[in-house]
Amino acid sequence: MAYEELVRRYQDVAVRTAHLISPDGDAEDAVQDAFVKAYAALARFRPDAPFRPWILRIVANEARNRRRSAGRRTGLALRAAEDRRPGDAAPSPESAVLAGESRAALLAAINELRDEDREIIGARYFLELNEAETAEALGLPRGTVKSRLSRALGRLREQLAADGEASRG
């Protein structure tokens, strides 16, 4: 069935999306449910719209439902893989500076953010969605993505700085 092929194309980014939104939820389970629901909703898919953000929005909603029902737990957090680097990618100047410990510090600060901030940073930087896709996937007005991202990054900086102050000495 062709839908299976379609699922196959988007399942990886769907699992990443679900995981970013609900790190301690069952991302795979959320993604399965999302694709099943999307099938039933195909008629609502606008033909002139791209498919990826449409399916990611359904995935995001599934993941949020799970996050809500699971409640906030202390274990909820994104984790970094054990310093595994993509073998074929040449490190950027930034990545050379940002060694493993710095990555962990940045990730820790992201995990301290509230959900909306973590989601928009995740959508733009981790999933690499553009502004329009981010708006669609997260259910935000298109014009607000830039400002919301800017505020989220501002709070990320504050979080980084605040904790840095608190930990000093």
């Binding site: 092929e5 990443r16 039933a40 008629a43 609502r44 033909p47 498919f51 981790f126 840095g164």
Partner: protein, 290 residues
Amino acid sequence: MAEQRRAIAAMDDAALAGALGDLAAAIAYPSAASGASDIAAIVRQRLVAGPPARKPSGILSWIGRRPVRRSVLVAIAAILVLAAIAGAVGLGLPGIRIVFGGPTQSAPTATPSPSPTPTPSAGSTAPAASNPVGSTMGLGTAVSLDDAARIGGLDLVLPPDPAIGPPDAVYTLADRVALVWSERPGLPADPDYGVGLLLSEFRGHVDEGYYQKTLDSSAQVKPVTVNGHAGYWISGTPHFFYYVDPSGKAVDDSHRIVGDTLIWADGDVTYRLESQLPMEAAIRLAESLR
């Protein structure tokens, strides 16, 4: 860690963006994000096992309630743009809408193998002993030509060429009729099903419904005319069909792809001709149908 945090907090915007981009590659995702779990197969099994419990809502139920002639296939269209598409283009045609997209992601484009699962709505499957051509394509229930015309509510048109003759197999699925010819001189077999010609005929209402087709990025769409009726020639790659039937259920109709496709509408009937023929020959064949 405080040291690193302060260092990152002090970065300028570009450096912070770079750090976030760098972090993206390091995030530990569930193994399912790298293909460890065949979510696609699981989803297929769940869909085959039964429809989701939720009732159709919104436009689905609206469509289902429309006082559309029940026997008419409201060939609407659910459309799957198989790509991250910027600026997909829809081509309008009464009764037909075709959508195609831009570059796809690096997903494999293997031709789906014939499904071992019969289409659920087919009701029955042909006896294994005498598989007529096309029996594994999910075209529906094998019927006689007369029954097909009755079920479809159509005056079926056929190629008058005696070298082609009557179809080798006829299927109906809902009120869509599929006529299948195996290989003939001049009608080479498709590599997957051994089908020389597949002609689909069904009613799609011009006002109420539309019919859409999603194409992979490498597909070519060329506007053509068939006996003066607008149509399209679609070539280049396996493409994907979805209908939404009058009950609002999306019907995956993709098994029928056996080659390049000529699609056109004549009044409220939509025709789809699939074969290995080049465009001009396919149009000639289409224009000869009686």
